[in-house]
Symmetry: C2
Subunit: 551 residues, 2 copies
């Protein structure tokens, strides 16, 4: 049996556009004489469709599109497409998350998702009823277990301190084994996170080995707002190796003979991706898709002379091209001499248009206007924030006038401790680095400079500073970034509380200060732009911490 | 059997504070010779605890606090407290949402929630395993079915076009009836929405009548960030009437003899609350608790001379008192003559401190600074937004310097269509009116003025305008608010798509324009402050629409 895997980039909600993408691949498979072509989870409507699933017309249009596609499927070809299905029973959630099997002009079978991830960024139980019927596909004398993403994640690794590997009471593949499948297909929409790419493969190769069956996983690629999907669809052979893997972060199409997998002609694939290279490629795709899928293609950002805006600019240039970017340099009386020079050099390195607007006069006018209220109160955070908000206002003015979306340049370390100004440097349509700790920002800079110096060495070498008052350094008010990032990782990703972090040997005063800063700044993070997610716990929809509370 | 209902205002995460509140009521009940005292759902940790439930130490502290409370409970008294419980089985979610029965120094029984709401603002399946064991409480020769909130909502009314009344396959009370309960207790954390208050009572009185049993519902009061809980705990008698209802929006404590309910001495309670009065009281509580529970007590806002900021100010004054508020009046060259006069009159009516800062000079300086980039491009949205962002910057400067939280003044109609400036008038720590349509803002103004004129008539009578360019009116770019609000209600609350709204008789051009504006402004709403929720579908965590997508 010739099976084709179609790894595509869908747009959420764009049912007709997604149908066209799918039909093109079906035409190719038909021409090739392929037996079965497989598309990813909810491919008809894009993943995640979120509350669009609560609109009857949206679900009905998805179903109609699948029926339309079916009419074009010949007798020789089987097609597996993901889409929402209406639950016809009187009770339970209204929908199933289903894999539709199309053949010879019709929807012939439907296989429904049993395990509905409802944690972190996933809310599938919000929409879907879990399946409890474990039939399998019989087509061209083959028996195939059709599963959907999480269905094979019943034994998932514990990721944080307070979690468990057996989140589910049902084990779909065990149930399906009773029917004697000869292969397992898994249609997925499995988002990228830097630590998870290898774990994913481990989970599937373990399943393949345990049941001595080929496991074929088809993922989508592309980014939908904050979620990035890396593709990397693969075929695990019955001995627990990877037979073939599709491209990362790119559309791909791969056809193979199922008997080749079963006869165990393994092409063992290397698994050792460089973590920073993966993050880099993920962020570039994340930026590109945010712009393209929103119908925009031009960006702006503020280049401060610091590492965060430099790395953001380099990523944006990769994603959009240098002609689509216009940056602002906005020095104040507190900017260091090098800030402008370094920024100009960086922009010139990439051939990027820049404008310089000094903010001192506007800043002074604000201060004058506020004198009657502030009287003789000493200068402090209020004045620092005014500078940052002047820059935000200028960047947004450029964005509004020229149609360039403002890219936010904040990193995860500063976002975590609230070291940023709402409506100032926290502004933007999309945050490129909001899930990247400061130390990883430095590593990204090194990676970007691998072939030639794009980010000037001076930007990498200088001590981090917000430059909002004389001689200010990040280290004046924060511990060194090595310590900060370690503690933040324990508190945010691993969800370990302060007392336990202190028990692990970290300084009590520092730990308590940092975790307190994280807690009291939930209100700020609530108003940040969507953050491209590259870790197992990003700020945003996957992390829901009360703003008002005492903890 | 003497039963006491304790309706209290808990702080999310404040386990020791909540314990103290609970212990005080237990002392009272002990002194009164009460048999059973009932607290609301997850009372030990506050509702909703969100992802704090993913921290082991948080769950263990909650459990330890309940054990500590138990040691103080005498032999004569039974206590029902809500809290998270660890699921000791190997599989399934880590926690249960449980009702702990305490008596004679110990936790004697635990009853677990079966129906876990996972829709709109609710994400309970994210944390909890559903209960499947339907035992009941036996205490002092009474048999009582102990249920938790949603457990009695198995037949809930359809709220939107594409929903269903039987969301669950399990019907807890039906299961419990096998044990012959003599009464039903329901501990709840049931948030306010204006249309739902009467529906809640209907659901419970229907259950009472169906099973000919008293149903006792204990809700919490108070607001936690965007969610407002109205209290209004009540006792439904076996004939389907309300025997007694506790206070709305206030702490309350009520003790009664269970036999009085069973013998059917009904005190039928009126059910016809004025919708606008309920919304008013809810918003006042919402503002007050946001400030108090965050440890702040001072507010600022920008008073524009329009209806939205006037109503927000009146609500804030009720919530915090006039001495805790400092407003800014920030006229530009486009402000009407009356804007300042009306605003001053309004502030004076309430005895509120105000400062006036004209923004024209700052605005001109921004325009000068941007001339090299903007060249001769005509003035437009960019310049309008600069004015709004200058005001946002001034308000935030006051907030930063004096420690006054900025209250946002946007209403739901303008938030829906994106008629507002990010980082400008969309700034703030909390949005008071972001779930109130413009027409209801007018009704609130009328309600506020019922006894005496607080909001000057001129503010109510003038045509709405953003005053960001000469002679601007909202009606220049939006349909009249009656039409707008109706279409928005159909699209947002009822989740009916454009084509169907047009079929209902609305103008096609207007409907398509409005729904398109709603769709393309998801990115703006993503960055708004938390919005006090008073409807069945507020912007915020309960409404999850893709930002990037095509729909």
């Amino acid at each position: 049996m010739q099976i084709a895997l179609a790894q595509l980039n869908y747009i959420v909600g764009d049912i007709s556009g997604n149908s066209q993408l799918i039909l093109k691949q079906i035409e190719k498979a038909t021409a090739n004489g392929t037996d079965l072509i497989v598309f990813s989870e909810l491919s008809i409507c894009g993943y995640p469709p979120l509350d669009l699933l609560e609109r009857r017309a949206f679900v009905e249009s998805s179903l109609a599109a699948i029926e339309d596609i079916a009419t074009l499927v010949p007798e020789e070809l089987g097609v597996i497409i993901g889409g929402p299905e209406i639950n016809s029973e009187d009770e339970g959630k209204l929908l199933y998350n289903s894999a539709f099997f199309l053949n010879n002009g019709k929807i012939k079978n439907v296989f429904r998702k049993s395990l509905l991830p409802t944690y972190d960024i996933f809310d599938e139980y919000r929409y879907f009823e879990p399946n409890k019927d474990f039939s399998i596909l019989k087509f061209k004398n083959k028996k195939i277990a059709v599963t959907i993403c999480e269905d094979l994640w019943d034994d998932q690794p514990d990721e944080k301190e307070f979690s468990r590997s057996r989140l589910y009471k049902i084990h779909p593949l065990e149930e399906m084994m009773a029917h004697g499948p000869e292969a397992v297909i898994n249609i997925a929409a499995s988002p990228f996170s830097a630590g998870k790419h290898n774990i994913k493969k481990q989970i599937f190769t373990d399943k393949a080995k345990k049941h001595a069956l080929p496991v074929i996983m088809v993922n989508q690629i592309g980014a939908n707002t904050e979620l990035i999907f890396e593709g990397g669809s693969f075929i695990a052979s019955p001995d627990g190796n990877i037979y073939h893997q599709l491209a990362l972060f790119e559309n791909d199409y791969y056809e193979f003979d199922l008997d080749d997998i079963k006869s165990n002609k393994n092409q063992i694939i290397k698994n050792n991706y460089d973590r920073i290279a993966l993050i880099h490629d993920a962020l570039v795709l994340g930026i590109r898709d945010y712009f393209i899928k929103s119908g925009f293609n031009k960006a702006t950002l503020g280049l401060s002379g610091g590492i965060d805006s430099a790395v953001t600019l380099a990523l944006a240039e990769k994603a959009l091209g240098n002609e689509k970017i216009h940056v602002l340099l906005m020095p104040s009386q507190y900017s260091s001499n090098h800030s402008i020079e370094d920024s100009v050099l960086m922009a010139d390195n990439l051939g990027i248009k820049y404008s310089i607007i000094a903010i001192e006069d506007i800043f002074n006018l604000y201060k004058d206007a506020l004198t009657p209220i502030f009287q003789n109160l000493p200068e402090g955070t209020a004045e620092e924030n005014i500078q940052s908000r002047i820059r935000g206002t200028l960047l947004m003015a450029l964005s509004n006038k020229l149609g360039n979306i403002l890219l936010n340049t904040s990193n995860k370390s500063e976002t975590a401790v609230g070291y940023g100004t709402l409506y100032g440097d926290m502004a933007g349509g999309l945050s490129a680095l909001g899930d990247v700790y400061k130390n990883d920002v430095y590593k990204l800079a090194k990676h970007i400079n691998l072939e030639k110096e794009i980010i000037p060495q001076n930007i990498i070498a200088k001590p981090p500073s917000a430059e909002l008052k004389p001689d200010q350094k990040d280290s004046d008010s924060l511990p060194d970034y090595d310590t900060l990032d370690e503690i933040l990782d324990l508190y945010i990703e691993k969800q370990i509380v302060s007392d336990q972090i202190i028990e692990m040997g970290y300084d009590k005063t520092i730990v308590n200060k940092i975790t307190r800063l994280v807690n009291i700044n939930e209100y700020k993070r609530y108003q940040t732009p969507p953050i491209l997610r590259i870790s197992s716990k990003a700020f945003g929809i996957g992390r829901r911490i009360p703003i008002v509370g005492k903890y």
